[in-house]
């Protein structure tokens, strides 16, 4: 049998693995330039206050200080990744809205002097009343956080289809339950950083930034600095993790560029760890009430949702987050009637933003928990309820999604088998239990706006391949996946391919890393660009091989006639032939790809397809609860996963394992604790996310589907698996000790308290 692929589907190490291991990989903070200055930010100590006066004279007099800038001096231009939700200035103008809000920036010859200078800035504040939770913030008469935003509610979404009331009336069981998900921090290993350099002759700013979105960052910098996009060049060096936290522009980006332009010297900003915790982004805390109507056999007939997201002081991605939270209640289960109402509310707290799963984990937690609650009330097996409600490929979808491939029902079954569901569920000794959670996630966005990736593939004289892509590898391996796709198409080895990525000055347009669209979108662009190179090469050698170009195959460094591998020419010889015909070198192919779409729409009012394709997964956990200390040990986590055809199964496994640790954090360990708006645990020590010692035995089961849209049948693998571990763990805790927890995180203290109450009630 002829093998299908040579490079795609192989467990190959990341193309930059060696550089990261030997320390030669360059992250933003590794970059230094002659004469470089260092910046620091002065931040608000108040959760809500008017800025009456800022006196920078003492700071400016400190020897070594080269510049100070405040909100009063910068252009009146707000930034934000969602244009209609822009509400933030790089430096506060007139008012601060949370502890950590940027008030002024300093730049000096070394970081110590900059830090000292920050302390010398004197600010007069008029402290304003502040609000710290959604309930208080939406009340009449609550302090106004942004002028003109009534009830501090910056965004509302309502989506409805079918007839919810009628379906509830026909249901055998209607349950209404409330849930809460806590704020958690992304905590990337690399803190946020930026270095800017200015060329006064060309009037161009170059910014190296620890970012997930070089092109959006360019747009935001251009808008806020008031210079054309063509005069801003954003370069993404190696990035040490993002998880969504680096899809916004931050004060460090703007201020580095500002000082570089004013002073004509390179300027670097690097955030401290407590700044990463407090002043970047976090997962939105969310209150969610779910009302579900079920038939006697466990089929979902209708669902109604009311959600309040605590956005903190600014919008960041608010509309996108709310939309995702809503739309992804329509998969992986068939919900024929749905009503969703959601509100994004400002408070004087750290800002919510995109984080792995982006609004969906909170909703998924609620639904997956409630499915178990209702299965219990109807005396049904939660695994059966999940299988029964699974959407199916090719069937009409009530929300208008186009589902070409769906391995969800199979994932429930395989995860259940692997964890030992039938033998264990309800049958383990007290303190031990199993639970599961299901999920689905988009591979990027189809309809929300113009989202397209470009790629250029160049083949040089020696056969070396250079791929230009704007895709932002933030450690997940995007460059490796793109290189594997190109290598497969051209029939060369991964070593022959070099990726030049994420430089707005040299690489093609790309929206960046978010929404799990990189493999499908940028991967397809690279595939098509490589195919166009291959076509040129095939046309060139077809005569010599006495074959039709359409009958040629490129694999393992050889071009041959399909079915007759003995009629062939090696890749280097083919290239030589190309050169001898005096065709232009390097041999170039270019392409762009965006998902099929009509006019961009928000999908809020009409049905439509959200994403080019959808991943599906079920995770099943076995836990052990220590009834003395209340600590929960996750013993095992099984992931049964349909990500289409994995381009690199090893990288997919890396994503799964990371998401299990993240999901454990959300379920058991993590919480950004605030006291009057101040984060009490802004360090790796006090925040306390799980480490290797806590991570359980992990088993992953690949359910391969061949998706027609994804490159080589691939779908997303980065975010979806972050949705189901938390509900799987909390459902397993119920099986272990018979207590239902609907609020995250489930801390040892809550467990002990619940066990005591249970004892008191004599249950």
């Amino acid at each position: 049998m002829e093998k299908q692929f040579s490079v795609v589907g192989k467990r190959l190490p990341m193309v930059d693995a060696a550089a990261k291991v030997n320390g030669s990989a360059q992250f933003t903070d590794d970059l230094t330039f002659p004469g470089m200055l260092h910046g620091k930010l002065l931040r608000s100590p108040h959760p809500h206050a008017k800025i009456l006066n800022i006196d920078v004279s003492k700071a400016l007099r400190l020897p070594g200080v080269k510049g100070v800038v405040t909100g009063a001096e910068i252009p009146d231009r707000q930034y934000g990744i969602v244009p209609k939700a822009r509400d933030e200035y790089a430096l506060a103008k007139g008012k601060v809205r949370y502890i950590g809000d940027e008030v002024a920036a300093v730049c000096a010859i070394d970081p110590e002097i900059a830090e000292e200078a920050v302390d010398l800035i004197e600010v007069d504040y008029e402290v304003l009343p502040a609000v710290f939770n959604v309930q208080d913030s939406i009340k009449e008469g609550a302090p106004v956080i942004h002028e003109g935003v009534a009830n501090n509610t910056s965004f509302a979404i309502r989506k409805e289809f079918g007839d919810v009331e009628k379906a509830f009336a026909e249901s055998a069981l209607v349950s209404e339950d409330s849930f809460y998900s806590q704020p958690v921090n992304h905590a990337p290993m690399e803190p946020h950083a930026a270095v800017a350099q200015y060329d006064p002759v060309r009037g161009q700013v170059v910014l190296w930034s620890s970012t997930q979105i070089p092109f959006f960052l360019r747009r935001n910098l251009s808008a806020t600095l008031m210079i054309p996009e063509s005069k801003v060049r954003v370069i993404k060096p190696k990035v040490g993790g993002g998880f969504g936290q680096k899809i916004d522009m931050f004060a460090k980006d703007f201020c580095a560029a500002w000082f570089a332009m004013k002073l004509g010297r390179p300027v670097k900003f690097v955030y401290e760890r407590d700044e990463v915790f407090i002043v970047t982004r976090q997962r939105h805390p969310m209150h969610l009430t779910v009302k579900t109507g079920m038939a006697k056999d466990g089929r979902i007939l209708a669902q109604q949702f009311l959600s309040y997201a605590d956005g903190g002081a600014y919008n960041s991605t608010a509309p996108t987050m709310m939309a995702l939270s809503c739309f992804f209640l329509m998969v992986p289960y068939h919900v024929p009637n749905l009503l969703y109402e959601g509100y994004h509310v400002y408070t004087n707290k750290p800002v919510g933003g995109a984080m792995r799963g982006h609004g969906i984990p909170q909703a998924r937690f609620a639904v997956e928990r409630q499915l178990d609650l209702m299965a219990d009330r109807l005396n049904l097996d939660p695994a059966d309820v999940r299988t029964k409600n699974s959407i199916k490929a090719g069937e009409p979808h009530p929300g208008g999604f186009v589902i070409n491939t769906c391995g969800f029902a199979e994932s429930v079954q395989l995860a259940a088998e692997a964890i030992g569901w039938k033998e264990k569920r309800g049958k383990l000794p007290f303190g031990r239990g199993v639970g599961m959670g299901g999920a689905s996630f988009p591979s990027g966005v189809t309809n929300m706006s113009h989202i397209s990736s470009g790629a250029v593939v160049q083949v040089g004289q020696d056969g070396g391949v250079n791929v230009l892509t704007g895709a932002a590898d933030i450690g997940q391996g995007a460059e490796t996946v793109i290189a594997q796709i190109v290598a497969e198409v051209l029939g060369v080895s991964l070593d022959d391919v070099r990726v030049t990525a994420a430089d707005t000055g040299t690489t093609p347009l790309d929206p960046g890393t978010f929404g799990s669209g990189v493999t499908v979108r940028a991967g397809n662009a690279a595939r098509i660009a490589a195919e166009s190179v291959r076509k040129k090469l095939f046309e060139c050698v077809a005569d010599e091989l006495e074959a039709n170009p359409d009958d040629l195959v490129a694999r393992d460094g050889v071009i041959f006639v399909t079915g007759s591998p003995e009629i062939n020419i090696t890749f280097p010889k083919a290239l030589k032939a190309y050169q001898y015909k005096d065709l232009p070198m390097p041999l170039v192919g270019r392409a762009s790809w965006m998902a099929d779409t009509n006019e961009p729409t928000t999908l809020f009012t009409q049905p439509g397809n959200f994403s080019p394709n959808y991943s599906f997964m079920t995770q099943a956990a076995e836990v052990e609860v220590d009834t003395q200390t209340g600590k929960v040990k996750v013993l095992k986590m099984v992931t049964a996963h349909d990500c289409g055809r994995p381009i690199n199964p090893m990288l997919v496994e890396g994503q799964l394992e990371g998401s299990i640790a993240g999901g454990m954090g959300q379920a058991l360990y993590e919480d950004v604790i605030t006291e009057k708006g101040q984060v009490m645990n802004p360090s790796f020590l006090d925040y306390g996310f799980p480490t290797t010692m806590e991570v359980p035995e992990m088993e992953s089961i690949d359910i391969e589907t061949d998706d027609p849209v994804g490159p080589f049948g691939a779908k997303e693998a980065g975010e979806g698996t972050q949705l189901s571990p938390a509900p799987a763990i909390v459902n397993a805790i119920y099986d272990a000790i018979g207590v239902n927890f609907n609020e995250l995180p489930v801390t040892p203290e809550k467990i002990l308290k619940a066990l005591e109450e249970k004892k008191k009630q004599g249950v």
Partner: protein, 323 residues
């Protein structure tokens, strides 16, 4: 975060070190640095001078002499718990030393440094700009205690792992000054005052830990509950030593007060009693009376109280089995 500016001295002898400390009252002693340097980065300790003990090579040893186990103050924690005698005969100390922070802390941190660590508080162990959101706390040089919501007091908590183990092993410590050295009970160096948790005179350095070999006769253990297995201060830690021959027990706790606490009332209660399920039933209540739990960390008082009782009970149950 960066270190503030300071002068650095590396004396060659204890006498020289003590002389420098007397001369520079706000100088701080540097051993492994795992506590001091973090506090300096947070600017809660800003000594004008660091006196590094790196040059005092003869303070790194574990040796037995005249019925005593003597451990140099600069002995790394890892060396302490890897010492065959400690590992075999002083399990409480071995368990405590090997549960400190992460492996990296154990290879850098010293036994003396661990004992002399600062007390901790969620309002104190924070960066300078974080702390600027509130009035400067008493321990950091201001007036209020944000935990007690009163002025001129400090309820920061002593969180060292090793101290309770050494307390139940009846350890003494040698304090060296310019005038010579003296040996005092370990317990006496802990003041119970949050702002200044150590009773050290100006120019005094803790140079040696002395454990009577009799403490090796008996059962001992240290138990710790922490958030994670890889790194963390204790939420609560408890050390227990019991002797089958004398019917005595010694119990000490950490992370429950401004100092490590020997629970003497509980010890008296247990004296002569046969340890069994019944006698250890009521220990939770007694333990709670001898500590002063405060909300100085993100863990609640009620949770800590529950854990404290359970830890002591489980250590005593183990002792029953160990006899």
């Amino acid at each position: 975060m960066r270190l503030p500016k300071f002068d650095y001295r590396q004396p060659e002898s204890i006498q020289e070190a003590c002389a420098i400390l007397l001369d520079q009252p706000d100088a701080k002693v540097l051993a492994g640095g795992t506590d001091l340097l973090v506090n300096m980065k947070h600017r809660v300790e800003t000594p004008s001078m660091i006196v590094s003990l790196k040059g005092l090579r003869d303070l790194d040893y574990v040796r037995k002499a005249n019925g005593m186990v003597r451990i140099g103050a600069l002995t790394r924690l890892k060396k302490v718990y890897n010492d065959p005698f400690v590992a075999k005969k002083l399990p409480a100390l071995a368990a405590a030393a090997s549960s400190v922070g992460s492996y990296h802390h154990q290879t850098m941190g010293t036994l003396g440094g661990n004992l002399c660590q600062q007390t901790r508080c969620k309002y104190f162990n924070q960066s300078k700009w974080w702390r600027s959101a509130r009035p400067l706390c008493f321990k950091a040089g201001g007036d209020p205690c944000h935990v007690a919501k009163k002025d001129q007091v400090c309820y920061s908590t002593y969180c060292g792992d090793v101290a309770p183990a050494l307390l139940v092993l009846n350890a003494e410590v040698v304090l060296s000054g310019r005038e010579g050295s003296k040996q005092v009970p370990l317990e006496s160096i802990f003041s119970g005052v949050g702002k200044t948790p150590l009773n050290l005179e100006p120019g005094q350095i803790l140079t040696e830990i002395v454990i009577p070999e009799q403490s090796a006769d008996g059962f001992s253990t240290y138990k710790k509950i922490a958030n994670r297995g890889s790194i963390d201060f204790p939420i609560v830690g408890a050390a227990v030593w019991t002797s089958a021959s004398t019917g005595e027990s010694r119990i000490a706790l950490t992370a429950v007060d401004r100092k490590p606490v020997r629970t003497r009332q509980l010890e008296d209660f247990l004296k002569g009693l046969e340890l069994n399920e019944e006698t250890i039933q009521g220990v939770d209540g007694l333990v709670a009376k001898e500590t002063q739990l405060m909300m100085s960390s993100i863990d609640s008082i009620s949770y800590k109280r529950k854990l404290m009782g359970q830890l002591v009970k489980s250590a005593l149950s183990e002792a029953m089995g160990g006899r």
